[in-house]
Amino acid sequence: MTKLTRREMLAITAAGTAGAALTKGNDVPVASGLSGGTQPRIRVGTLAEVSRGPLQFSYPSSSYPAQATRLPDGKVIAYSLICTHIGCPVEYTAARETFVCPCHQSIFSAVRDGAVLQGAAPRPLPKIRLDIDTKTGTIYAVGISAPPYGASEG
């Protein structure tokens, strides 16, 4: 099992904050499913598992597929897998550290907080904040930078 360094921990806990800063700065209420502080804590898997390959999970609820990935530099990152354009499922391209939407060719950066590198997607890919239990190596998803495409408070 790979031991988590302090630098990795910092990288992980810093995740998911930059995207939120892009949220429109007016006072219009936006339904999110998250506004009530309901960002659940969900077990994703273990560091050992993510080191063998990306882990699929759902966040913040079962309707929204997500993926945790270990980058070559050791950082573990997680993103919603739903394109912010029309809601197609995006695919991870390890060689370029990008998520690509096969429907309309939007591309998101896995290393720059989900930033849109190409295409009609208007928003970054929502980044999922992780918490890792250093004793057990268990990875938990604990928050998301923005609601996945199509989310509402219902």
């Binding site: 892009l22 949220t23 007016n26 006072d27 936006v30 339904a31 096969p102 009609a120």
Partner: protein
Amino acid sequence: MKRRELLSALGAVGRGDAPREYATSCRFCNVGCGFRVRVGANLRTLTPDLAITRLPNGADVELVPDPECPVNQGDYSVRGAFLAQTLYTTQGPTAGRLQYPMVRSGKRLERASWDDAFDLVATRLRGYLSHQGPQSIGFYHADWFGGENAHAYIKLAKVLGVTNYDTNGRLCAASGAAGLMRSLGGPAHPWSFEDIEHADVIVLAGTNAFGTLSVIHDRIFSQVQSGSAKLIAIDARRSLPAKNAEQYGMFLQVRPGTDVALYNALGHVLIAEGLLKRNFVEEHTEGYAAYRDLVMARHAPEQVAELTGVSAAQIREAARHIGQAKAALFLSGKGLEHQAHGTDMICALINVALLVGSMGRPGASYSPLGGHQGSIINPPLFAGQLDHVTIPNRTIFEMLDQIERGTQKALLCAAVDPFVTLPDGQRARRILEHSLEFLVVTDIYPNETTRIADVVFPAASWGETPFTSTNSERRVRFYEAFAPAPGEARPDWAIPAEIGKRLGHAAEFPWKSTEDVFEEMKRGQPFAGLSYARLRASGSTNYQLPVPTATSSGTPRLYTDGQFPTPDKRARFWAVEYQPQPEESLSEYPFVLITGRKNDLWQSGYTFKQIPELVARLPRNELAIHPRDAARLGIVTGKVVRVRTRRGALEVAARVTEDVQPGTLFTLWGYPGSWINALTINARDPISQEPSYKSCAAAVEAVR
């Protein structure tokens, strides 16, 4: 705001808790995606949250792409995503909208009443008309901003006898219109977007449709990705459609400006290998023999390979795909229009379409794609005609010459920014700033041209006043009003109407509403069967022209019977040949500088620069250069370079990429603050007078 105050504020747009619902169309490109609008109190929306904004009257407005609109079927581009953010707000980034008339007082523009501003304009124009005659004044306006507004300006020009009249279609659609006119007899785009789903070969010539007409590109990509069609991209630049074509068809990377030779070689192969549709050519075309003689004698693939940079084998393979297609769809972009011989390029491509009978059948057609929409009354102005019937007009370039000579004194502009957008911009600026006596500008934001204006009028814009225009498949787009205009802004048509009244022509301008203008302008037009009531009832679908009667449901595609609007009802082959670029790229200026677009940035950026999120996506202009050239000149990605032409220089960040060919440079046209037209050349197509924004000889060097 208290609930009662909010409800009171909502009076104009919605009452109570039930939101009002409307249908409208995107304000931007020639696709014209349908959108659904909700206006009400405290709306909540699904993500992305960009779909909603709060209006000055306290109401929220939500704009989402319409899944039932046949144009976009729920799809949208990045521009469409930010539509709600382009609406006027009192505190947001759009708060800088023009709100009141302004009149020059020394070096400053000062707020004036509408009455005083109109008085000043009428007095000055009356003076010019009585002393120097109607040729001393001119009109220049957008042709995307609504047929009703164009109708009002055309009418004012007519009643005053003014023939200095042009629109900004001159800068981007004139060669497409002229080419269609020469080859098919009429300037209308003949196709329907649904041809994409019927085609088994799609030829994209000189267009990065992904970067300009995203939703059209999405439809093309779906068609080729599913294996239903092959994609053939012909472009000087390896943009995303070209990369898709490498995967789903083939990409011909043509040397800039040599397209005519390449298309003629495609024609050569189709004829030599017997792949042409002989029946169509014999029954529905004229001029084939001269065309055949030209391309057979001088356009064998081997004869043009060196000039075009495309191998003979690639030309043969592409021609065979086209010749064997059941339905080949040809679409062209600015790569063919922003050229000094753009009309010839369009005609040369239409020649290939005619050879294989690609006209009027599902999936088999040709069309320019266009940039912005055309006003409904304006089959884009063909050089030499003011209203597509009778009156000869002088172009904006002839007006500049007249102003420079001193024979034209006044110019009235609306929804254009000629200080930024005209080619050879240093000369254009000098003339507008120093030789013109009286400049009146109507617009929605302060811009470079309002800065030098004598009178500025604020216009109500998209969402604030209804109007109509047409997209690339001749579909009328009805723009609904659902938001208040800023300050005292008025619909554009009201400004020429009031000027006309004050110049003694009150009877000609009786309109009380935009709908009144529409009812007048539709007489005798191919949309005579439409009314605002009918357009509103059709949601965001509307109708494809012609719609001649109130019972007609529109016309999905033109020329289905093989009859063309030429005197003999036949389409024309044009035996045209490659002609050199207006400036040779030689020792001191060894590069060809190409300018182009990207979907985040619309035109001169007048909405882009108001929206911080959009600017963050495209924070600066860039100059693309091939790695081989970059290495030789010590240029690296991200560092500033100076690009120069005989007319001017610009500093811009470099991006080293194999997407451009060695010897070519590419940069964005219209990026705010990066004035590319200081460099571009005032070389124009001899037929359409459209400028060549994509070809000037340039030099580049590292700065730091």
